[in-house]
Amino acid sequence: MQTATTMYWIVWKDLVSEYRARQAWPAMLMLGVVVTFLFSAQLDAVGESQSRMLAIQIWLAIFFSGMLSLNRSFAAERVEGCWDALRLYPIHPVWIYLAKLTVNVLALGVLQAVVFMLCIVLCNVPLLNHPWQVALLALLGNLGISAVGTLLGSVCCSDRQSAPLLAFMTLPLITPVIVAASEATRLVCDGSIGAEWWRWIGLLAVFAVVFVTAGIVLIEFLIED
Amino acid sequence: MTTLIVTYVICAFAVALYILRMSGLQRQILKRMAAQQLPLQSSAAEKSGD
């Protein structure tokens, strides 16, 4: 109970500091909007395979813009000794990881909402015909990307040297998420929600579970004292 | 036939490059050992390191 409350306060602290300083979210959302806009402008010309292109474009836009937020989540703690203060709390590093994961999931969720809405408006795709399926798919994809991104961010952002490497390190690892999520998005766009769709959703779910678990197990060995 | 030869030559070349780089590093290490007045055997470095 005690730890859950502490976790809640870490999440709250991050959200409040983001609200006051506006360091990552506006940049992330702007990048998402601009990338989606530029992609959509070219999409009319594609013709038949439009939904295929659109799906991969949505997820790449989410990934690259989301990296701005993932990068910040631990890097923000490194300035002015915040990290040392956080480590002085009598809680296990797992809770810090879970709190950071929650913040990142929220950030990516907002980003996803914006990008999906923009795609519906600009490209006229029937994503809203299956709102629950889209929500499930977005949530699972979000969890997969955030779990890996947060875990790598915890090691990567402890100095300035390696921070730019995060996107480059995360992308090969989350290839299954990008592939599965964009295939599932394509199927939703085409309106065919059947066994194939559920198979991709299953893969996304397995990925999310495996990597959140890996994060919980490994974070203790990654955080330096 | 050409493809076959090209494939084997490229592979041999790549492996040879790696080995050359390794032996270059080895020479450098031996030089550094000499500068530290160590006998030219890596076992000595290991013992003193332990």
Partner: protein, 232 residues
């Protein structure tokens, strides 16, 4: 451990033995193995391709295991294992992609297809490259080892999922075709010979990394002592 405690002679039995086995394997692959009917001589790429692909996978597994040992123990010796496996694995993954591409060009008339195995190998290569780049760009040894290590461990966990994801796409890669006994023996000999060769290379590189690290700490100590002497 016993590899690098002996002297640095270039004519130790292990090297001579490796050279003999490698020569035998190459002669078998290029000369004695029967020429395949449909593809002709190009089919002989197979012996090389399968062997380096196997070493690439093995290298990746060793890298992941050593990285995990490092993360649990925080002992830089394990990182030397991991880095050596990383370098050899990267070399073999690259060669696999290259030989596979040359094979595909003759067999299927295209340099690359989005076959599950090809895609998986590509992602493996990307992960190996990623670790190498990380190692190249960070100076602090523990920090470097930690970051490269976590990528290796996550990559190892990731691999089955990558295989699954790519398998549900599409496929042309031959799984294990029928082979003549001579061809089978040649392939086996090649795999064994390459495994020995790259293991020797790997152990050599590992001991080199180890002595480099110890030498580095020794040099720093010497510098500190000199500094003290100057001050006093």
């Amino acid at each position: 451990m016993n590899q690098h405690t002996k002297s640095h002679s270039h004519f130790r039995p292990i090297y001579v033995g490796t050279a003999c086995v490698m020569t035998a394997a190459l002669v078998m692959a290029l000369y004695f193995a029967p020429t395949e009917e449909t593809m002709g001589h190009v089919q002989r790429i197979l012996y090389l391709h399968v062997s380096v692909a196997w070493i690439g996978l093995l290298g990746f597994a060793v890298m992941g295991a050593a990285a995990m040992a490092y993360l649990f123990r925080r002992d830089l010796d394990w990182d030397c294992w991991s880095q050596a496996a990383n370098e050899v694995g990267w070399l073999c993954c690259s060669l696999t992609l290259l030989t596979g591409s040359l094979w595909a060009h003759s067999a299927w008339g295209t340099w690359w297809t989005w076959d599950p195995r090809l895609t998986t190998m590509f992602i493996l290569w990307a992960l190996c490259s990623c670790c190498l780049v990380v190692r190249g760009s960070i100076e602090h040894p523990h920090h470097k080892a930690r970051l490269a290590g976590i990528i290796a461990v996550l990559g190892l966990i990731d691999l089955p999922l990558v295989v699954m994801a790519t398998r549900w796409f599409r496929g042309v890669h031959p799984v294990s075709p029928e082979m003549e006994p001579t061809m089978r023996i040649t392939l086996l000999l090649n795999v064994v010979a390459f495994t020995i060769f790259f293991t020797v290379l790997f152990l050599r590189r590992r001991s080199q990394l180890l002595s480099e690290r110890l030498l580095h700490s020794l040099e720093i100590q010497t510098l500190k002592i000199r500094e003290m002497e100057i001050l006093t």
